[in-house]
Amino acid sequence: MSAGTRPIMQLSQRVYGEIVYWGTILAAIICMIGPFISMKNPDKNVMNPFYLFAAIFEGKDTATIWQEVAGGFPGGHFYLDKFFYGDGFTQFGLAMGCSVAAWALIPAAFIYLFKEKNPTYTILCLWVTLLIILSMVGIVSSH
């Protein structure tokens, strides 16, 4: 390869980049549609949108806000039960965006192992994926 030729990026790197990029865009589109569903059907929300912003700007803490506006916090993965609710759908978009690195690191790990023959980075990719998944399911928590 001459000094002037652009090097071709490794497949692992390209696959990781594409999955994260498109996953982020999809998450953003979901987060554009979610608030519209919230306003279209105010009754189909976990948190009543009419009272939500006032509670936030009054400086109330999270537990109080959820208690007053939703009758209690239903858990971070409440979108699984309330997928078609306005805020449930929005939370799904957030959850998707906040876990996109894990979904991209898994194929990258396999490419490192089978195509690029570099098991060190397979282990590192799987380690970071494991950290994201443990964090997602809430197994490791200090409170």
Binding site: Q13, F57, T62, L124, S135, S142
Partner: protein, 369 residues
């Protein structure tokens, strides 16, 4: 085929269409909604959502031009000038920081400016720090009450002050660090990866060193980011550049990718305890993604170095707000009178204007030579 129908314009256009339809729909629906007693009207909810989006979009654009992360602007501003609970602000700040990083990941990975091996290696440590930082933030919020809120604002104010000074001084950064000795561990990791450097029109390969030491620094950076809900590009870049000898441009690209990857770990404690409120966080997220993409496409070539002075001025003002609010919450001082806030703001405005005028004159002189 027109370039508007090809990536990245295609996805930008799709997002713009969905956004416009969504906001037009919210406006029309909001006007027809009956407001319940004690509740906010539909039009007011629409206005808040639009306002959040526009603010986030603006932050993302300015961040692209000024080279300062969105999280560094969002979190101090919200903590200093609104009464929103600090945990909600920091959790949403983490969303702002991570999504501006996530959306830049694709182009950086495709072009080869960022290096996935360095990012994964650093993320293995950064994630632990960010996760612990987020847990610490939740602990402080749940156990220290108003004193905790005061402490957080005070500490963030001091960090922001040192950061603003650091941005003025410039810090120790080297565009092309020289490596005299590569240790065995770094050699074994095989992290360097050649890339095409547009400015010099040739392929650059770079040796790295001290990979073990960078892990310790990155854990500390992750802690800060997770606890305060700040993007930590300002710390990740020098950590890679000075310790590991990563070229400056590569370190900057890596920092975006690393923030996106590592904060996927740090953000979940906030999501699982309800500190990220979906309809509140969504417009901030959308603004970062769309603003980051459009900014990178349109504004990246705009030479507007003076924007940096504006941002630094803003940081000093936010710092004043944070310190005074923190001291007030700790019971050390009373409410700051309006005239004093105005005086500080005016003083900062005058200094920033003088600096910008000097900068523009210096640029014009250079252009004339």
């Amino acid at each position: 085929m027109s370039r508007m129908f090809r990536s990245p314009w295609l996805e930008v256009n799709i997002m713009l269409v969905v956004l416009i339809i969504s906001f037009a729909g919210m406006y029309l629906v909001g006007r027809g909604l009956e407001t319940p007693p004690g509740g906010m009207s539909g039009t007011a909810i629409f206005a808040w959502l639009l306002g959040f989006f526009l603010l986030s979009f603006g932050i993302a654009l300015v961040a692209v031009i000024g080279g300062i992360g969105g999280g560094v602007l969002f979190t101090p501003f919200m903590l200093a000038f609104t009464s929103v609970d600090s945990l909600i602000v920091r959790a949403t700040g983490l969303i702002v920081a991570m999504f501006s990083g996530l959306v830049s990941t694709g182009p950086f990975m495709r072009g080869g400016l960022a290096n996935l091996r360095i990012c994964v290696f650093c993320a293995a440590a950064y994630g632990i720090g960010a996760f612990s930082g987020a847990q610490g933030a939740i602990f402080v919020a749940q156990n220290l009450g108003e004193a905790g809120e005061g402490f957080v604002r005070l500490a963030l104010g001091l960090i922001l002050l040192s950061l603003a000074i650091y941005f003025i001084v410039g810090g120790k950064k080297i565009e092309w660090p020289e490596v005299k000795h590569v240790d065995k561990f770094t050699k074994w990791l095989k992290m360097s990866q050649p890339y095409y450097e547009v400015s010099v029109k040739r392929v650059i390969d770079y040796p790295l060193t001290r990979a073990g030491w960078v892990l310790i620094a990155i854990i500390g950076v992750g802690l800060l980011s997770g606890f305060f809900g700040l993007g930590a590009g300002w710390a990740i870049v020098p950590a890679q550049n000075v310790i590991m000898a990563v070229p400056l441009k590569v370190a900057a690209a890596n920092s975006g990718v690393l923030l996106g990857m590592g904060d996927c770990i740090g953000v979940w404690p906030y999501l699982l305890m309800g500190a990220i409120i979906p309809v509140f966080a969504a417009p901030w997220l959308v603004g970062q993604v769309l603003g980051g993409l459009l900014g990178a496409l349109i504004l990246i070539k705009v030479k507007a170095g003076f924007v940096r002075y504006l941002l630094i001025g803003f940081m000093f003002f936010a710092c004043f707000g944070l310190l005074t609010k923190g001291l007030k919450l700790l019971g050390v001082m009373g409410e700051v009178p309006m005239w004093l806030n105005g005086l500080v703001f005016l003083t900062i405005c005058i200094i920033v204007t003088v600096l910008i005028v000097r900068y523009i004159k210096a640029e014009a002189r250079l252009g004339g030579e």
